[in-house]
Amino acid sequence: MYQYNGFDTAFLKERNLQFRDQVQRRISGALSEEEFKPLRLMNGLYLQLHAYMLRVAIPYGTLNSAQMTALASIAEKWDKGYGHFTTRQNIQFNWPKLQDVPDILDALAEVEMHAIQTSGNTIRNVTADHFAGAAADEIEDPRPYAELLRQWSTDHPEFQFMPRKFKIAVSGSAKDRAVTRAHDIGLLLKKRGAEIGFEVIIGGGLGRTPMIGKTLCDFLPKSDLLPYVEAIVSVWNLLGRRDNKYKSRIKITVHEKGLQEIQRLVLQRFSELRPQFKGQDQTFLNALKKAFATPAWIDTPTTTFHENYATYPNFKSWVDINTSPHRNNDYAIATVSLKTPGQTPGDASSAQMRVVAQLAKTYSHDELRISHAQNIVLPHVHKSHLFALYNGLYPAGLATANAGLISDIIACPGMDYCALATARSIPVAQEIALRFKALKLEHDIGPLQIKISGCINACGHHHVGHIGILGLDRAGVENYQITLGGDATETATIGERAGPGFDASTIVSAIERVVFTYLDLRLSYLETFIETFRRVGAPPFKAALYPDASEGKNAA
């Protein structure tokens, strides 16, 4: 993974000094709150419901054991002993004090981490496939490009006060694990003959007006990446609406101006910007690729793995559900679930972070990932180490075998924490997970992604959940709307609204009815929920959700 050089270290030191000074000026009154707010946001500091919240960047979801251990220490020293991993591969601390934040940032800098541009009207954390560099189906590791974009976007002079936030995701595989089609810019590495380049997708986004992104450029040569992305952001910086924050994102700009007009403007800007990039960025890129070189694989027998797999059913179950194929046949990608039913989705205690850090150092070539599904991934585990890994995770409550299953729920913090929320999401996630655990149906149901958002901003990605739940405020009472058939992958789809919402006491049984309908209608256990939904459509599910409505129709 990327290691800071002198430039990066000096940059971060200077940046943190600037923020320390800004905090002091805010406290002294030299800066008004109106002036301070964008400055604290571009350093990741939000004001939430009960306290401040610091969002720390985990660039393209990659970190090492020293960094994970530092996050654990920061949580212990300046927070309440835990952190929350997010759908954009960041970590959030929910209880920092303003005057401590400069010290927290300095502690992060010691392990080459930061909170820069994790908020504000800036270019945010560039996210990537959490299986990058490990997946068997990968065309090319997207992370060198993500790191190049991170550096290019950091403190970019033009793009600190844009109409709104801007989100970029990169995928290196035909299987889209980075939700690229729901980003302002999605970059997909693809082959054209012998050459590898990018399909550039633009204007995806969830929230109030969810949209799947459109292809702006079918094949962009790698050497054009920075000027082309800069052209897009530059065009949008001038065009994006500043009069209405709900219509500011580039998805609306594309919708209002038309894709062709945006293409024309981008090409025009690109032609002006391209000569400015004289090749140094490509030299950097080549150096970055070396930083992301394949680890030195170990070469030992996997016999004990096969024996343990055959002997221990819980281990077998965990391997079957929580590991994924690795490009090296003797290795596996291991997902560490932060979704034990009853726990807050995506949360890890400091103790758990330390356990995972140590296990990653020993068994995963000292590398960890955070997935947008709010789980931790150990990308490079030799199969002979899986049993020891599992036994290391188990006592820490980190061995739940539910990756991709119904209890592997994505949920935003919701109104338990977030000032923007209209309803709570965490208790709904907990109840659903516990209910299906109690019913002992999780494995039978198979892959089913539930995503829950506590407000229309959709940080829980509910629009692209197989089952999405949106928590709203209906006449002063929490009300949960269900969407069906969403998809976050390369077959990206916005879910369809099922009908009127359910209150907190009926939402879980409503989800049950949807799931039982699936179990009734599927051709076999081999047909997943989303496949069944695509085959039969929404009507049977709606009928199950609203039995009185269909009775009313029949009675006519």
Binding site: L49, H50, A51, W95, L98, M415, D416, R424, I426
Partner: protein, 104 residues
């Protein structure tokens, strides 16, 4: 003209530690919602809010919140404000876990 139907408090977050705070009857700030001053007149509430907003040195994000005037003291009428008096529901953190009757 004071009205029973208009019933609000001024609430904000403390600048340094982000705690939820309420304007009290003495024009200071309290962490205890039961000590919050209830406004029944829109004009008075707006004037107090303007003053509170100008108090940038230790208060941030002041706004008016619906609270009812009960015998036992002011009570939040919307679930969001109920949560702000307590803390999160998933961990015993925040106000619910801290000593009561602590003024800002």
């Amino acid at each position: 003209m004071p009205s029973k139907s208009y019933s609000k408090v001024i609430t904000a977050n403390a600048l340094l530690n982000g705690d939820v705070i309420y304007l009290n009857a003495k024009g200071g700030w309290t962490r205890q919602h039961s000590n919050a001053k209830i406004f029944h007149a829109k004009k008075d509430a707006q004037a107090a809010l303007n003053t509170a907003t100008a108090e940038a040195s230790h208060v941030v994000g002041a706004y008016l919140a619906d609270f009812s005037d009960e015998d036992a003291g002011p009570k939040p009428t919307h679930f969001r404000e109920v949560f702000r008096t307590k803390g999160p529901g998933n961990y015993f953190h925040g106000k619910q876990a801290e000593a009561k009757n602590v003024s800002v």
